[in-house]
Amino acid sequence: MKNIFLADDDVIDRELFEDALQQLTIPTHLTQSEDGVELMTTLDKTVPPPPHAIFLDLNMPRKNGYECLAEIRNTHKLKDIMVVIFSTTDCQSAIEKSYLLGANYFICKPRSFQLLKKAIETVLLMDQPSIGEKTSIDNFFLSLN
């Protein structure tokens, strides 16, 4: 059972994510947060043990994705968790900023359900990054086509 965290303020996106996750054959447990503040509180309460991955939307009320990412990387018990940015944007500056703040991967939210499932599956099948290891910039953006 893989523990997955998802932080996204868009309820439809959360539902779609949940549907896609359920249709995968990999057994998972999903913890959802409506914004960054909620995510950080939940993480603080439940870790350890650390989750397999956090899917983090960038554009969120109260505390956005970048703030959460920075906080996670600066919190001792959270800093080694795999963080996957999951955003509508594919803007270069956003990708670069996320990389510099220490995210592991960047996925642009897909426009078909099939691709969504594929994206989640790819992340779930990935190994935990060894401690302190950083993804190379070329592999950072996950292209799903």
Partner: protein, 635 residues
Amino acid sequence: MRDRIRGSILQIRVVYFFTTIFLVAISFYAYFQLVHLIDSSHMVSHTSKVSDSLQRIAKSLIDAGSNHKTYLLVGDSALLSKRDQDFQTIVEELDVVDSLTQDNKLQNKNVKYLRKLVNKKFLNFRSMSETYQSVQISPAFKSSLTTGFHQTENLIQEINKMSAIEYQLLEQRTKHFDRLAYTTPLLNVLLSLGALLILFISYFRLDKALDVSNQLKLKLEESNLELQNKNENLIKGGERYLKIFDNNPIAMSFAEIETNQVIYANSLFYQSFGFTKEEVIGRSTEELGIISTEENERLISIIMNSLQEERPLEELKVLPAEERATLLLKLKEKMFENGFEILYTKKNGDTFIATVNFEVFDIGNKKFTLASYQDISEIKKVTKQLEEKNITLEKINKELESINYISSHDLQEPLRQIQIFTTRIREMEDKNLSPEGHIYFEKMNNAAKRMQNLIADLLTYSRTKTEIPKFKSTNINQIIDQVIEELAEIILQKNAIIDVAELGDALVIPFQFRQMMYNLIGNSLKFSKPDENPYIKITSEIVDSSQVAGAKHKKGMQFHHFTISDNGIGFEPQYKERIFEVFQRLHSKHKVAGTGIGLAIVKNIIENHNGYITATGELNKGATFDIYLPINQTP
């Protein structure tokens, strides 16, 4: 002046002329007087000579008588010859008198008569001696008689000797006198001539000196005249300056440093400060109260700071004018170079801000300041309004940008969700859909796709406007390869050929450059002829700024020139500018799927690169895009 000089010269000449005449006259007079004197003296000596000779005749006559008488007594014949000698002397002397009195008829007659008488006497003596009979006298008497005779003889001889000496002296003196009589007039003439010469020399000297002084005077006169003209011009100039000063569109005042009193001010000064001329002249700015206490405090603190003066203000206020002028100049150098803003209070209490500037002047031994006050209240007001408007504009611009960005971004989310749900329906409910339902779904999908493109392009457009560009030396061929890879599907589908030359490295904003190439190549593929395989050629070269169309860069600047040309449907040449404007589409939506933003993005990117782009084309004969990017980018 000139006439006066001429008059004095004439006077001097007249004086000299008369002096010369006078001198000559005196000389002549003296000469003739002298000659006359000499003549008179000659006459006197002539007369004395005559009377001398006459005396000698008389004496010789007495001698002859005496000798004769003695002979008669003694009978010595020697006495007779002596008597005859005496007569001989008388005849000689008579000759002398005769020659001397040649010019005197009366004396001449007398001489002739005298000569007759002498001859008669002589004949008488002769007859006496011939008829003579010696008489008997005692020998003693004879001897004493002879002795007496000899004594007389000796006496006479002595007298004659003295007389001869005197005569000799007379002769000598007469000669001397004659010499003098000859030389004195000559000397006199010479002296006169010398005096005349000196007179002439002194006259010519004086004349020359007068001439020189005359010239000097003329020059002086000329320079005087010049000075007078200059003075007049100065006065005229001064009046003109005063007029400029008076009518100057900037308020100005002229004040003496020592007393700080305003001496003069122009009309605008009175107008600006609301005082009359009478109220201003002779009063200091402090007395006028045009600077409020608060403003004065503010100014003093600024002035003290900028002067870095250690002396207290009270001491500075009573400094002599000279030192105050130095301080003012220092102040001017430090703060007033571009004017200094001061808040002034008018007579009626209204305030206005003016830019003040001043200059320190020396006139005579006094020091003055000429200050100008330019009312900038209006400018300030307008500037403030402009600044406010600018801030508002900037705010609006930022808002617009963020609205553009956020709406584009936020618009994508529901669209993406619609797209996901359509794919889900097609996957799960496909068998439940009618054939029409399939067609509608397809159309809905296309519409969503077009909207997706539109939003993506808008987003890119807004990003190219707002993102801070980062230049990086990049291999252009690598970028083109990436683009071709991205466009692989449509390239394959349209069987297109993309001919890329060796493009080398260039200093570009990599992400934007890729976007630009994507748009341009994408455009060429999109606007290809349906019956012809697309052929796109990309080349590059390095050119000088002179070959760059529309470039305003300095000479010698080098550019990368990239050319992208195709064999597509082209465009009508008159649209070559318009195609770069946002939402300007040359083809209907139905024919070709385009958002109308692609080339506007390209244009933005080119501008971000400080470059130029031109499009050339003809309908159905392809299009060519020429891109010029500077080789060096100055930050």
